[in-house]
């Protein structure tokens, strides 16, 4: 290909969109590496500590869109102490000091300060899109800066972040006419919902916050009329406080909705949810609470034939009661929604038989995350472990990339996963397995494994140390409440200098020098830049 001018190569590479493919392209030869990196606009950094901002900027001077992820996934469930890290400030500083014309920033599980948001809003004239998922550290002051300074903002997506101040005043910082705004995904308080809708009638994504309680109020009527004008809305979410009698306000747009998130609407009864969903025949994505029940899921199955992604969350998050969905709901969905490829399902129980049926009905799963609320719960009918059920899933779903296990599981399920889950990239395991063999089956068998996160399983140093080279082919490994020891982790760190092996030593449990003591939390990841300099005291990098 030496006789093609660079521009031609670049044009060809334009058709190569996915990160993975572009990464592959860049490995072909020096020429391709150079052309690829100079033309690359979108970069995905799965672990902000794997490289430095300087490396990123040097390699991709044409960067326009950056995705950054910080804390390990289990940080979402309070398994990682505060102040662990994941600060976006150094990245924004470095980018703003460079010539990069950043237009989009997507952050997940990172610490974002108001200072960072202000710097961001002032540094990039063409900034268009900010997505913050499960982040923390900022308040509405930072958001006000974004609203006020980013003249070309098209998308502001705030999902499940810990924001310290919930006042809606910052929303008035949006200019009078946000004709560029097409996506506002966060909990909008009602008073401002009306205002925003009037300023940005072309909105495609909309989050609603405190809804209203009284269908006779003037605000409600105004809202109803405004929504009628927003025919463009395709994605609706929020509903943090909604009185069921006010749901009819949304009915006019239901038919066009492709994405609906009702998973915060704890106050809406299953029957009301069902009434709403019956009108949403074009839904591709549905997030809902389990109070919809198995019967409600049957309605979803018969109504939403285009459904691709379903998430059923527990309404009883303290886990002390009974969940409202069982294996029956899932089987109904699998039978009725042939396009389903992503699932997150919190349920009270699951059977092997049901999983086998689901596997047969839906061989196209890419993401399959099942959470049986009671750990180590067996198949309630046969009292057997769920090895065979999950085995059927991995055997049938040849494109499975993400899997989360739960229920009673022995080493056998990992044998199946190692054998069949050839495309598996991320595996989450809790309270499962009998011995080191389980983990080894997975490490040996899943060639494409990138992230492995394990909690409360009996895997020790033998599992950890058998194939140390594997970890350089992966993004990260998390092990908590397992059987790995300090000595084992030290050995690993010594043999693999390009990994950061971090021990989280909360509450000063660990003593230096005592090799046999168990390590409560270990997080290791490959990196180009060695031990991080912002690690807090309780994080030891071995």
């Amino acid at each position: 290909m030496n006789y093609f001018p660079d521009e031609v190569l670049e044009h060809v590479f334009d058709f190569v969109a996915s990160h993975r493919d572009r990464n592959a392209v860049s490995l072909v030869c020096r020429l391709w590496h150079r052309v690829e990196r100079l033309s690359r606009q979108r970069v995905f950094v799965g672990n902000c500590y794997a490289l430095s901002p300087e490396i990123l900027i040097a390699r991709f001077p044409g960067l326009k869109s950056l995705t950054l992820k910080g804390k390990p996934h289990f940080a979402d469930f309070n398994l990682v102490p505060h102040d662990w890290g994941g600060y976006v400030q150094p990245w924004i500083e470095a980018l703003s000091n460079s010539r990069i014309g950043l237009e989009e920033l997507r952050l997940k599980r990172m610490v974002v300060s108001d200072e960072s948001l202000e710097l961001l809003s002032r540094s990039f004239a063409n900034f268009k899109s900010l997505v913050l998922v499960s982040c923390e550290g900022f308040t509405t002051v930072g958001l006000a800066a974004i609203a006020a300074n980013c003249r070309f903002l098209r998308e502001l997506d705030l999902q499940e972040n810990e924001i310290d101040d919930h006042s809606g005043h910052w929303l008035s910082c949006f200019p009078d006419s946000c004709t560029s705004l097409i996506s506002l995904n966060f909990a909008l308080p009602l008073e401002t919902l009306q205002n925003i809708l009037m300023r940005a009638p072309q909105l495609v994504d909309l989050g609603t916050g405190s809804y209203i309680h009284d269908p006779d109020s003037e605000t409600y009527n105004k809202l109803k009329h405004t929504i009628l004008k927003c025919k463009s809305i395709r994605n609706l979410s929020g509903f943090l406080e909604v009185a069921p009698r006010c749901l009819p306000a949304i009915y006019p747009i239901c038919l066009n909705l492709t994405s609906l998130n009702l998973s915060y609407a704890a106050g809406i009864h299953g029957s009301e949810l069902v009434k709403l969903i019956r009108r949403c025949a074009k839904l591709q994505r549905l997030w809902i609470l389990d109070c919809i029940g198995d019967k409600g899921l049957e309605v979803v199955a018969s109504t939403c034939k285009e459904l691709q992604e379903l998430r059923v969350f527990p309404s009883d998050v303290l886990g002390v009661g009974h969940a409202a969905v069982t294996e029956n709901g899932l089987v109904a969905i699998s039978a009725g929604c042939p396009k389903l490829h992503s699932l997150l399902y919190f349920c009270q129980q699951m059977t092997n038989a049901a999983l086998i049926v689901v596997a047969k009905n839906c061989p196209n799963f890419i993401r399959f995350r099942l959470c049986i609320l009671e750990p180590t719960k067996p198949d309630p009918v046969t009292m057997q472990p769920l090895d065979d059920g999950f085995g059927a899933i991995v055997q049938s779903c040849k494109h499975l990339r993400r899997l989360s296990l739960s229920g009673l599981l022995t080493d056998r399920v990992f044998l199946y996963i190692g054998m069949y889950a050839e495309q598996l990239e991320m595996l989450s395991v809790a309270f499962a397995g009998d011995s080191d063999k389980g983990m080894l089956y997975v490490l040996n068998g899943c060639k494409k494994l990138r992230k492995l996160e394990i909690r409360d399983c009996p895997y020790g140093d033998k599992a950890l140390l058998t194939d140390v080279g594997k970890y350089e082919t992966m993004r990260s490994l998390w092990m908590s409440s397992c059987e790995v020891t300090l000595g084992g982790c030290k050995t690993l760190a010594k043999e693999m200098p390009r990994l950061n092996v971090e021990i989280i030593n909360e509450h000063d449990q660990m003593e230096i020098g005592s090799e046999e003591q168990r390590v409560e939390k270990m997080y290791l990841y490959r990196t180009l830049v060695g031990p991080r300099k912002d690690a807090p005291e309780f994080v030891w990098t071995l």
């Binding site: 943090l240 180590t376 809790a430």
Partner: protein
């Protein structure tokens, strides 16, 4: 490379099979075994089961039994049956709160649990109870409308939205003419008539709701349906 087992373990005749803890109910064999892990480099076999959050929490959890395993070496010789003898019987309903379980983001947990004041609603003559979230309503009128819709009217019968409940907090079943008076149980356990205190105060103190048939409420002189003209549309 995995370290060899320390010789002391071999010589002590440690039999791993015997030391396996099962997750099954006592008496069941061969189901989901959980073997104890040998710590390489340690001079003696240590039972590490109890150090695992798993064995403490998961086994305490609603499995109807819990294994308490000792830390010292003598525990290694225990067989399966001895493990059962050791088991401290815990009530099946005792559930340990496991850190980070269920795997739901803190944001979501806060949203679901906050401002959700669910109370049971019992209606005389109804075979089962319902639940309402008092936070959903701003006034007695809204609450009573909702209760009426939920418990009394059929969904096909339209309820009148402007019914006045200010003076008479009663509900009526148009089909039968039976009237109900809403009462509630407050924090002190007393039965109170709904409507006497300001709404917010009511929401804070209400523990459960009940709709009682008016004949029971008033006593031996029940009102006739005609006198409840204000309840009809």
């Amino acid at each position: 490379m995995s370290p060899d087992l320390p010789k002391s373990d071999v010589s002590s005749g440690l039999n791993f099979k015997e030391t396996e803890l099962t997750l099954g109910l006592p008496g069941e064999i061969g189901r989901g075994t959980s073997s104890l892990i040998q710590i390489p480099g340690s001079s003696s076999a240590k039972l590490t089961g109890t150090k695992r959050g798993f064995s403490q929490a998961a086994m305490d959890l609603n499995l109807g039994r819990s294994f308490s395993v000792e830390h010292d070496d003598s525990a290694c010789e225990q067989s399966e049956s001895e493990n059962e003898d050791l088991s401290v019987a815990k009530p099946p309903s005792a559930k340990a709160q496991i850190l980070g379980w269920p795997p739901v983001r803190a944001f979501r947990k806060n949203v679901i649990t906050k401002s959700c004041h669910l109370v049971k609603v019992a209606m005389d003559g109804a075979p089962y109870l319902r639940k309402v979230d008092l936070e959903m309503y701003n006034s007695y009128q809204q609450l009573l409308s909702a209760l009426e819709e939920m418990l009394i009217s059929c969904s096909t019968i339209p309820t009148h939205p402007t019914r006045n409940y200010l003076d008479e907090k009663k509900l009526m079943d148009p089909a039968s003419g039976v009237e109900y008076v809403p009462i509630y149980e407050d924090k002190d356990g007393d039965l109170m008539l709904v409507g006497d205190v300001p709404w917010k105060m009511f929401v804070e103190s209400c523990k459960r709701l009940r709709l009682i048939k008016i004949s029971e409420a008033i006593g031996p002189d029940p009102r006739t349906p005609q006198q409840s003209a204000s309840c009809t549309s």
